[in-house]
């Protein structure tokens, strides 16, 4: 085999807009948290929190994931992306749909605008799924990572369809369960089915590669795959039919699956030959440590309250915040430093390698800025959790400011990477 990843890489102009849209969305999220902290201290089914959450999960997290996946698919599946034009079309539809969806939620317009937004998003996701499926089909390589990634895209499609049905159901009720039950199904198919499965698929390939860890127990990933998927299907059925014990048992299967995955990662960490972690990997490691909080919290929430009646609202918002900000967003910020510099470095220097002195990918960004960003984002998350738990709007606003600074620094570094100018050759 001599099929190298960078030969299959798509044009960087497909990937860069995804990262820029994601960075700006996250910045707007922190501004909204700063000025409207009460969105996080009311019931979670409020227009402002719906707008903020969708801007975060779609505008930032999913957008960056789409962009990164277009670059990473050649690495993981060892083949070219099926169709770049389809990916561009998907980006425009996704971006327009997200902007319209967030404005609609903010103003609680539950009619035409939200339907147009949802249709645009569904179409964008469908194009994305088609692209990933055909790419996976073209790849002769069979791997558990590939299966995780493909399955996660199917869950994403399911999530946006359920979200659309939920939006329609708000004005034209036709589904015989409560909106909150549907919201829980929508949220968990997205959190676990889309984010977690995708993260497992990508990270189980990339993190051992970055740390150079060999001889890992891949069967742990196979166990994780079946436990999480079957568990999640059972969770959804149990939630729909209000079967409390079904949620406990199947949720337990998902958690056990997650621990198999974490055990795989820990094994990779222990067997790594590169002992010192760079800033991108440090933030990645921190995000996995933070992941323990929402896992523990969902157990506490399940045990301490009746799932379908008197659920503790602040703990649910802390659960969602630690999962989305603490785990997924931190992971994305960290992994940006492992993917974007390489993409730009390859674009700028691929014809100059070996012919002149060139910088390394890590030289494309400021490590000091990255370190301050990492510390301030982590601090911001801790303050956010504290503010929600204490129901103190002032603390949430301060957390918003700290996170805004972190995300601003992230954007500065990201733009520094994207607009990196090639160094001029020196005369020997």
């Amino acid at each position: 085999m001599d099929q190298l990843a960078s030969k299959n890489a798509p044009t960087p102009w497909l990937i860069i807009p995804h990262f820029i849209f994601g960075g700006i969305s996250l910045l707007v999220v922190t501004v909204l948290i700063t000025f409207l902290p009460d969105a996080l201290t009311q019931h979670y089914f409020n227009p402002h929190l719906l707008a903020i959450t969708h801007l975060l999960v779609l505008g930032c997290i999913s957008m960056v994931i789409f962009g990164a996946l277009y670059q990473l698919i050649p690495v993981i599946m060892e083949t070219k992306l099926f169709n770049e034009k389809l990916a561009f079309l998907s980006f425009f539809l996704f971006a327009l749909g997200i902007i319209l969806l967030v404005i609609s939620f903010w103003n609680f317009w539950l009619a035409e605008s939200i339907y147009i937004a949802a249709s645009s998003i569904i179409l964008a996701v469908l194009f994305f799924v088609v692209n990933v499926s055909f790419t996976a089909n073209a790849s002769t390589k069979k791997s558990i990572e590939k299966r995780f990634i493909f399955t996660s895209t199917v869950w994403l499609l399911f999530t946006v369809i359920i979200g659309t049905l939920l939006a329609i159901n708000l004005t034209h009720t036709f589904i015989p369960v409560s909106h909150l039950q549907l919201l829980t199904i929508h949220a968990h198919s997205g959190f676990v089915g889309w984010f977690i499965l995708l993260i497992i698929g990508v990270s189980s390939r990339l993190l051992p590669m970055f740390m150079v860890s060999h001889n890992l127990t891949v069967s742990k990933l196979t166990k994780a795959y079946y436990l999480i998927n079957l568990g999640l299907i059972a969770v959804i059925i149990s939630l729909y039919f209000s079967i409390t014990y079904g949620v406990y048992v199947s949720g337990g299967a998902v958690v056990i699956g997650l621990f198999f995955y974490l055990s795989f990662l820990f094994e990779a960490y222990k067997k790594r030959i590169k002992k010192s972690l760079d800033i991108g990997m440090k933030q990645t490691a921190a995000s996995f440590i933070i992941m323990i909080i929402p896992i523990a919290l969902i157990q506490l929430i399940s045990i301490s309250s009746n799932l379908f009646d008197n659920i503790n609202i602040p703990s649910v918002i802390v659960y969602g915040s630690t999962l989305l900000f603490g785990f997924v967003s931190s992971l994305i910020l960290g992994q940006t430093y492992k993917t974007l510099p390489f993409i730009i470095w390859l674009k700028v220097y691929k014809n100059k390698i070996g012919k002149q002195k060139i910088p390394f990918p890590k030289d494309l960004y400021s490590e000091t800025i990255a370190k301050i960003q990492f510390v301030s984002f982590t601090l911001g998350i801790m303050m956010l959790i504290l503010g929600i738990m204490l129901q103190q709007n002032f603390v949430i606003s301060i957390a918003g400011i700290v996170m805004f600074i972190a995300v601003l620094l992230y954007n500065i570094n990201m733009l520094k990477i994207i607009f990196h100018q090639p160094i001029k050759p020196q005369n020997d």
Binding site: E78, K275, K350, G354, K355
Partner: protein, 106 residues
């Protein structure tokens, strides 16, 4: 290394210490990625048999290109052919003592 190199082949081998893996920041000789160097004096060819730390390594092309250009720059008139192999697979045992020090300081 699969066989004993002659003096000139060893020269090329040592020259490749100038190629750094951009992710690990260690040269490819100390990482043990180069399996063989073969020079054909009649057809003026240099064949490098090497591997990568993992298949699909995103930096693979860059490393190959660096090897090619470094040799072309130092051995005018020779053609360079890089034979990328996955057998035997690269393992930690391939790393030299200097490579271990560069990676982890010991």
């Amino acid at each position: 290394m699969t066989r004993e190199l002659n003096e000139k082949e060893n020269e090329v081998f040592l020259l490749l210490k100038g190629v750094i893996d951009p992710e690990l920041m260690v040269n490819i000789i100390d990482l043990g990625l180069v399996y063989d160097v073969s020079i054909g004096e009649i057809d003026k060819s240099i064949i490098i048999t090497m591997t990568l730390t993992s298949p699909g390594c995103p930096m693979g092309d860059a490393i190959k290109e660096d090897v090619q250009q470094l040799i072309l720059k130092n051995y005018e008139g020779y053609s360079v052919n890089i034979n990328l192999v996955w057998e035997p697979p690269w393992t930690l045992a391939n790393i030299t003592e200097a490579g271990n020090i560069a990676l982890n300081g010991h």
